[in-house]
């Protein structure tokens, strides 16, 4: 595990052709930045500032792996996901993606700068499942036409073949083929999320972004959908980027986990080391805040309570972005120098001036 393949921050020359991307890596995000302009005025819109939602983050994901990206609202996790898919145009940085091309040979493309015709191919191979199963399905389309739409867009198969594929996909996600002619409103939240998964699977992607896929669901339904995602990964060899705010869900599904705060990555490690040996004070606070359904543990737990709220990303604090709320912050260091994202243990990356392993439950 200590080889360079775990290295998320590999400097690349400007003209890199990504030939050094190891074979087993499907996605490498390099110095990704996404800014949103703040404008003023109605007729003559003037840019008066920018929100850096994602501020220079780097990571990579291996084939068949699940990387969990956690953080609280406004930390930039969804913006990262959307920039990776180029649903948002990254302001700067590279997103190298190993695309499966027709002949079976892989091709590495930079999603951030790829031309339109290349993107069309890339999009077949990377799909997304959205958080809200109520908003992400068109209420006027039948389930069959929702799931078949990607096939139609790419001109796959005849009408009959597409319908067969739809029925097969419905079975894969645990719904009945008879459901094909119904409309989304006839389904519960969990079933709708399954329809969203079936649609994402229709073009046989190799990489899927799951953006809070279970946070709108009830606990018992959440478990069903998590089990489904697990099964699909085993059967189809999928690679997931799993975005969530719930650390216990992320622990369940991920192989590696990255924690974000205010547009920056603060810690990244294997699932085991992150949860058993967290080093960043924000990770400690975040974990200690997560309730555990066990009265004995809960009643005897020391909580690390953070002061105040997350600062505005328009005007992030200087130095370490967490210094305003950090119990360990030292004036003169943390509020001046930005901590480097360092590999303190093999595969365990932390951005903190004073990292320290701490048990939190």
């Amino acid at each position: 595990m200590s080889d360079t393949k775990n290295d998320p921050v590999v400097e690349m020359p400007d003209e890199a052709d990504a030939s050094d991307l190891p074979d087993d890596v499907i996605l490498r995000v390099n110095h990704l930045v996404k800014e949103f302009p703040i404008t003023k005025g109605v007729f003559f819109r003037k840019q008066v500032g920018a929100v850096q939602a994602v501020s220079d983050i780097s990571f990579q994901i291996k084939k068949g792996e699940t990387l969990g990206l956690v953080g609280e609202s406004g930390c930039g996790k969804s913006t990262t996901a959307r920039s990776v898919l180029r649903l948002l145009q990254p302001t700067s940085g590279d997103v190298w993606f190993r695309m499966e091309s027709e002949g079976g040979a892989d091709e590495v493309v930079n999603v951030a700068t790829a031309k339109k015709d290349v993107m069309r191919q890339v999009r077949r191979d990377m799909q997304i499942v959205f958080q809200d199963p109520y908003a992400s399905l068109n209420p006027r389309m039948t389930v069959a036409s929702i799931i078949a739409e990607p096939l139609l867009v790419y001109g796959e198969g005849t009408k009959h073949e597409r319908l067969e594929k739809v029925k097969e996909l419905l079975k894969v996600v645990g719904l009945s083929p008879e459901h094909a002619n119904r409309y989304p409103h006839e389904f519960s939240g969990g079933q709708r999320q399954r329809i969203g998964v079936a649609r994402a699977l229709s073009l046989n992607p190799s990489f899927m972004v799951l953006d809070e896929p279970v946070s709108a669901l009830d606990v018992s339904i959440q478990a069903q959908v998590l089990n489904l995602m697990d099964d699909l990964q085993d059967e189809l060899g999928l690679t997931y980027l799993f975005i969530a705010h719930d650390l216990s869900v992320v622990r369940h599904i991920s192989d590696r986990v990255a924690v974000m705060y205010l547009g920056k990555m603060v810690e990244m490690a294997d699932r085991g080391s992150l949860y058993d040996r967290p080093m960043h004070p924000y990770t400690h606070a975040l974990m200690s805040a997560v309730p555990i359904p066990d009265p004995e543990i809960e009643m005897n737990r020391e909580r690390i309570l953070l002061e105040g709220d997350i600062p505005s990303p328009t005007n992030p604090p200087p130095g370490c972005r967490f210094n305003t709320r950090c119990p360990k912050a030292e004036a003169g260091t943390c509020d001046v120098d930005e901590p480097e994202f360092r590999e303190l243990e093999p595969g365990h990356w932390v951005a903190c001036h004073f990292p320290e392993i701490q048990q939190v439950y």
């Binding site: 606990v219 959440q222 719930d246 805040a289 359904p293 066990d294 009265p295 709220d309």
Partner: protein, 344 residues
Amino acid sequence: MTEPLLEVDDLRTYFSTEEGIVRAVDGISFSMNAGERLGVVGESGSGKSVTALSVMGLIEPPAGQIVTGRIMFKGRNLLELDEDELQAVRGGQIAMIFQDPMTALNPVYTIGDQLMETILLHQDVNRAEAREIAIQAIEDVHIPNAKAQMLDYPHQYSGGMRQRIMIAMGLSCNPDLLIADEPTTALDVTTQAQIMDLMLQLADDRGTAVMLITHDLGVVAGFCNDAQVMYAGGIVESGKIDDIYYNPQHPYTWGLLGSMTRLDDEQRHRLHSVRGAPPSVIDLPQGCRFRPRCDFATEICGQVLPALREVGNPGQQAACHHAEELNLHEMTAGEPPAVEEVSS
């Protein structure tokens, strides 16, 4: 044993809709003692919020109606009070905190005005005294610079700060009972920890009873003494929280615990997951409402609705025909049940 603070007896709250009658709460009975912290746990549509609204007298006819039942609060049946008497209880002796602190606060009034309104309504004080009480209430929820904050509007606050104001408002009249309906669901987890910590401390200091309505078994574990689990309009299990978590008697409670991902779970095991989805409250199944999703159902479950009865540890109750035979606590959630064990 003194008289309980709140005693709900065979409460049925129905709503008439175009599709039919929604039996949102269908025959529940429970009681709370002074200073007790009760967790009401359930998934969407289980009737937990309607239970709270019924106790608060916030069910509006003709759409919603309390069909039968008694809600005894400090010896009086709340269902028999007229609007004025109810108004005196509501906000004064029973206060409520809602899930979404933005919609619960009025955006065009200052924080101070809204706090003082409640205080002036329920306490015999003049404006200057009400102002003092309001400032104290803001300080009590650990918001610095309380005097200046009185002039702020809700939009100037973050979600966590707004929920603090809601708590300040709820506790400003020293109620006997605080009903908190999903108070932290809309908040981030670190803010949730702050708010739950604050509520626990304030309720403990003042001896306020709290009914915590939530879908999150984790939050209940750290806050409540007792809990009751609701499913499709009924209570399926109730008891001390240790009994509910370590010795569940109802298959739904057991399934819910097995469905939860846990922060301290080292193994990446398969989640138990209760199959299927909750029934429509318009068209409830015959017999036990959990039967269609239950791994242990037998013939009787399809015929007779099981009543809540003492089973398991003292004080623990469950509504399951097979509670005694199942020994759920000996089974790891996640393991498929051995069907032979329960054939009876």
